[in-house]
Symmetry: D4
Subunit: 248 residues, 8 copies
């Protein structure tokens, strides 16, 4: 509730152009629309200047399409994460320009192609199984106007693979590191660069990996001080955090 | 291992000024000193342009003082976290200019007072019990050359306390949020601002708080996309991450 | 075992109308019927003046229908939760007046439409994925004779969405709050109202949400004092607890 | 932010008695005081019409006394939970009328002795070791204006002890049940009464009790539908929830 | 390795009827057969005088049938637990007298119908969903020569259902109690009887039941001293333990 | 509530010797005394014919002594487990015949020296650190009238130590096995004997032993079918269960 | 980065056969190939003199085949673990000499049949359900040039089965032990032999086995000092570790 | 029970030099002594040719000294781990040649100084706080006749520190790696060497390190195939395993 807006409204009240009762109503009126099953929140998009996002898991194709279509009306970029082909088919009908990025399980509608990020975002993955999560981060960061560099399959058990790309990583302004199993890669990368590292534990692994818990705990305890962590398999979150950092 | 350095060395070899064997030796020589029980790593400090840090827990006063003194020789800022009065007494003898910041449990030696951070870092805490962790973040960020703003005791059960300070939070370039118990504050703050939020779960609480686990899990699952998380009670890590973001 | 009943029985014994042996038998006779695989407990329904409930998960359609039919004989409202279409088909045959409430996964048979609740019950959900659980609470509360108000998709990362409905929430005599992920919404709602808040953690989320554990722990540690918690995804329990509170 | 208040303010603006700028300021002015380390929140007390509470754990005697003294200025009842003798000594100096209830580990200042609760609150405990938690609930409920009945040491392994008091429990309008170990008592009590049961898992037990986790999980899974749960050892929370229910 | 057997063997050696080398061989020869993928252990059956058991989960129908057939050669009772219809079909071909007990998911071959148990074993279940586990216990105990009494659906939230059968339970020499959710029933039953109670946590429940963990922890912490516990859903184990107790 | 008792009472009513009102009172009168902080339950002792037990942890010396003294009035054996020297000193004053068994941390008052157990109870421990728990089982079983045999320090990594005592173990009618760390001993012992094995996980070990959790889980999953389990460090419970089995 | 290699390169530089710039390039050139989605790492194979391995889970048949084919070019043995029939079909097309070992779920291409292991590796399993994991260990060890001996279904509840094979186990130079449920077998085997024991917890079991967690914790706490542990179900890892030990 | 021994015994029986009864006795006689509270197991020492070890935690100084003295009689090396100064004082009295290695918390009595290990054992630690655990491994390996090389404080966040010592690590025949926090070091070291790596998770760290659980899980999931793991803080176990490998 922005003071300038309130001031203008109060000046209208003072000038007799607006009754106190109407003013009370307006003060309560906030910029979101109600679809019944979801409150579409343009407000957030306006505030942070970023695209609106639909988390598609547990939603029906019809629900995803309805939210997507409504969001698409405002001319912004739209992103649906964790999407299935069925959800994409439904979206495609209401928003024909939408694309499905298979490897990232994402539906994207890109209108705004402006470069908002000041530098390069590097997305690093430990193994090939981490790639879907890494690609979700890539899609998110690109849609938010960033130049993105991929560096995949450079896990710590073959440290020379990572070191061989040390120079290219060091060009990044923000680094995203996706790793499952022991989740050690962010610590090593964190020690190699002087910029923020966003760590994404993945559910890759088996047995004592406990669906990403081992990687999550490992990353929380990283001995590199420039590492912070997002949820297991949350490539979107990593791409989002990296993007807002890269705009600073 | 910087290519320019290797090139110069190779040119010396070509010019016959350096034997291949000596060159091999030099290539292996990396900038750290060995105290026996610890490898003092000036390299890292040089690389990221930041002060060196001693984690004091489980170290004897003698060990803390020895590491502190060695680090202090290079004219940089030095920080010892989780320090006790006993450790400070030992440090004081070898580094008389060191100060003890009681509420943050930190020993600091500040020489470099340059402002490195481009904007304001806001440190927010949910309750009064979270303050020691929040203060560790403050000390870290200040020592790394940032302007820091405190906003304490604004937990979500009295949401008006937070909303009353919404404007001041929105001036920050990076926000650190410390909270124990249910760890809900970062989500609410994350929804109010458009900048990166570094969440610090604290071990404040009892029973099902499980020493910060509840807060940690809550923050990992934050529904605000601009939130990333550091370890439980890791005020230092939050201050460090916020500082390197604020330098970008 | 109600003293008045025992007294009457004893007076019959004294008057010689009842032999001591028969009295012993009667004292042991309690009001439930035995279907073999389930003891249908009319007693509980009589005692608390509320409808009987079938938890349908892990039961066959035949079992659900048999229990439902037996309960339906007594003219009370009947509710089958976590029901499938197959179970409903079986119930429909023996109890044609039963209805299936799809979004709540509930089979309901409503005969008693009396208003038992003194005030309004507000059911609040954090996201659209929490709606099935919220609807289970709604169905339960309505069947138990309450007026219910829905407020969905008002999660804490867009706190203005909740605040915009603050007035309507404050009209409630009891509030139910369903939330997954970090489970922060009950704390915020609890701080806004002065009435009991029943928190329902949902299994919505992924990764470190651990099927509702993160939300459960968050709610157990709520910093709002008027919050108590039921099991993960237990919309029925929340509706039930809210209903008996609302009758007081 | 109450609409009537805003309306009056807006009417003053319209009448020219208040400038828009001043109105903006007032709209931001919320009723709490700042002690530096804690925001004393009279607002909450006003809103829910209840005493203010200090959680004393991890606070110094000086901090507890300072907060207590400030809260005591407004003539309301004041409660400090989890208090030590040292904290009480400090409080006693600034608030001589305060009393220390040893068995509940609580400091209380009672001025308002009005009966707010409409009925009786029954506090039941499984064993003698649960009594400190039960007494915290008792103190809280009494300070909030309720008549309280104690029923201790009636754990489920000697079910006749509980059944012998069935009649007295059935007089209560709200029941609080404290139990450690397997936490089974709330289910049994819940089946005996038709009113809300607030379950408090306690950390009583050893081995696989895991500091109250076993009891917490047991209570979350209660097969009695009228049970909701608060945090482990949270006698205060149970007393608070029961009190606001009893005012309805 | 039974001393009498060794003594006889040694006497044969002394008498020159057996060479030392042959004796060494015999001492190593133990009574089991090798099927390649499983060592069929007649030894155990001989030792404890009880039927041999096949745990069918994760085994192919062919493997179950092969083991079953081999065990069946010795004229003892044979039991295959956690069996599927497919496994039964395979067993039926090699052992036509085998029967499939659907509700217990068990294949049984009964030849020995002798009564080994001295008293009655009572099998009690909390809810109807616990019946498959309870029936596994029943089948096991019956096959091991015991008289078994069933008492199902007497969970603690309707304690009168249990109390109404108190007399019949008190006739048992051993009691098995199966319960999911909060797992409270063994404590209550344990308090009602003076004989050993074998508690079986079941995976019945949802949310914080965590697949039987809540019930397991509850039972481990039973405040009734005559309760011991077997694995989650281990009806067979309970039936087995109860049977060997009942033979004493 | 024993039918014979009720019958007699009813006959008195019929005979006019007892008024219905008085009968109601008597039916409610159950055999326990109220010490205020504890309901002393002679009823249980009468029912199962066993001594009464005080769990001393978290109780003050005064409380332990008061309960002990009251229990001691009835001429039965009395046992206080987990007792300290301070608690013993307090007990000694009110019950001079009480003895302190240091290694078992138990206070015992033995009057009834009758042999109730029909056979031998064998108490086996894996290591020397498990002895305090094993001794608690020994004291309990002896006080309950059993002959007990100790076999300590026979852990599975030196299997010959156990096998050397195989014969003596096989004389037992019930076996108690105490083990920490991996908790493997009950499985091996269970395979060697044909009688019930009561397994007691102990909190002995470090690191991934997690205070007995590893041993508990191991014992729950025992591949020997004659094993049932009591709580971590619950030597008393094991001794109690073994004793009631041995009376059968 | 092997010093001899660097020395040769530097000598070429000195001799003017290589320019410093080219030398810099070579120093960065490391021996792996980039397939886009995976960096094929011949380097590791060269270094440890062992076959290259593909972990097939979560990879498409096309991906497995592409990696397999590339690795197969170098004439080494190739192993794909956790493979499906579909993956094998894809591999078969590009590498016709590959074989599918069904019971081990492994695709193998064996060219190098040299015996690298100095002694015998014994692979022991507790039950028949552990065999797939044990066979994965066997396949791995054989492909790495070892003689392997199998000993299956010798779990601790029938200790005589294990002891009967004691002599054959004692011939091994390294022992691998696979066990689920309580995971006790490695401790017993470890006590019988004087060589390294590699323990593999398996996910065999149910209920409190928690998918191998019970076995894992048990093995971590083994009281036999010669036991070390690999991940749950990691037969490959055990075979690999055993093989490199056996080469020493 | 070694066949040759049995054969000789049987030949004595045949020759009439030994009665069958005496032979039975001898077959049962195994080489350990009974101290009452501990079975001193010379057998194990004889079998594996290694020193005997006392785990001192939870043992009294008197117990440690008694066991130590008994073990010392046989002229072997003796090691007491996790020892305190008080325990050492007691040992010193009965075994004056014993030494206390403070940093390893170990009491050692070294008589046998023979070199049993064929190569070098390298002990690597991530941080200075891991040194006590690492030193326990060093003491163990040295006492078992190995040459040991220390490499401390080379954690992965400063990967150049490790790489600088790559050559010296590669000289080792077995490598022990101790690390707390994220436990990533064994994976990196495992990738650098071709020999067995024994990983020791340490309880170093705080918050989500959960007393070594994070490191343990990380190491169990190591992406380097030559890594196996021992218990948290089990430096002794690592030294022991490494030693028996190094003897091969």
């Amino acid at each position: 509730m922005n003071p300038e807006g309130i001031r203008k409204l109060l000046q209208q009240v003072r000038a007799g152009k607006l009754s106190p009762d109407d003013a009370v109503q307006r003060l309560r009126h906030l910029p979101f629309e109600d679809l019944g099953f979801a409150k579409v929140d343009h407000h957030r998009a306006l505030r942070v200047g970023m695209p609106e996002v639909v988390f598609s898991e547990r939603k029906t194709p019809v629900q995803v399409a309805a939210i997507f279509e409504r969001l698409a009306r405002h001319g912004k970029n739209v992103l649906a994460t964790r999407a299935t082909k069925e959800q994409f088919s439904a979206v495609k009908k209401v928003s024909p320009a939408a694309k499905f990025v298979v490897e990232a399980r994402a539906i994207v509608l890109r209108r705004d192609r402006k470069r908002y990020g000041k530098g390069l975002i590097s997305v690093v993955s430990a193994g090939t199984s981490d790639i879907p999560i890494a690609e979700e981060a890539v899609v998110t960061a690109e849609l938010m106007g960033n130049q993105v560099q991929r560096l995949y399959d450079v896990g710590v058990a073959g440290i020379h693979r990572l070191l061989a790309h040390r120079k290219s990583i060091s060009r990044a302004r923000v680094v995203i590191v996706c790793a499952g199993m022991e989740g050690a890669l962010p610590s090593v990368v964190g020690g190699l660069v002087g910029v923020p590292v966003i760590a994404v534990p993945t559910s890759v692994g088996y047995g004592a990996a406990f669906q990403g818990l081992a990687a999550l705990l490992g990353m929380m305890n990283s001995c590199a001080s420039n590492v912070s962590v997002v949820n297991i398999d949350n490539g979107f979150g990593a791409g989002y955090v990296a993007s807002i950092i890269n705009r600073l």
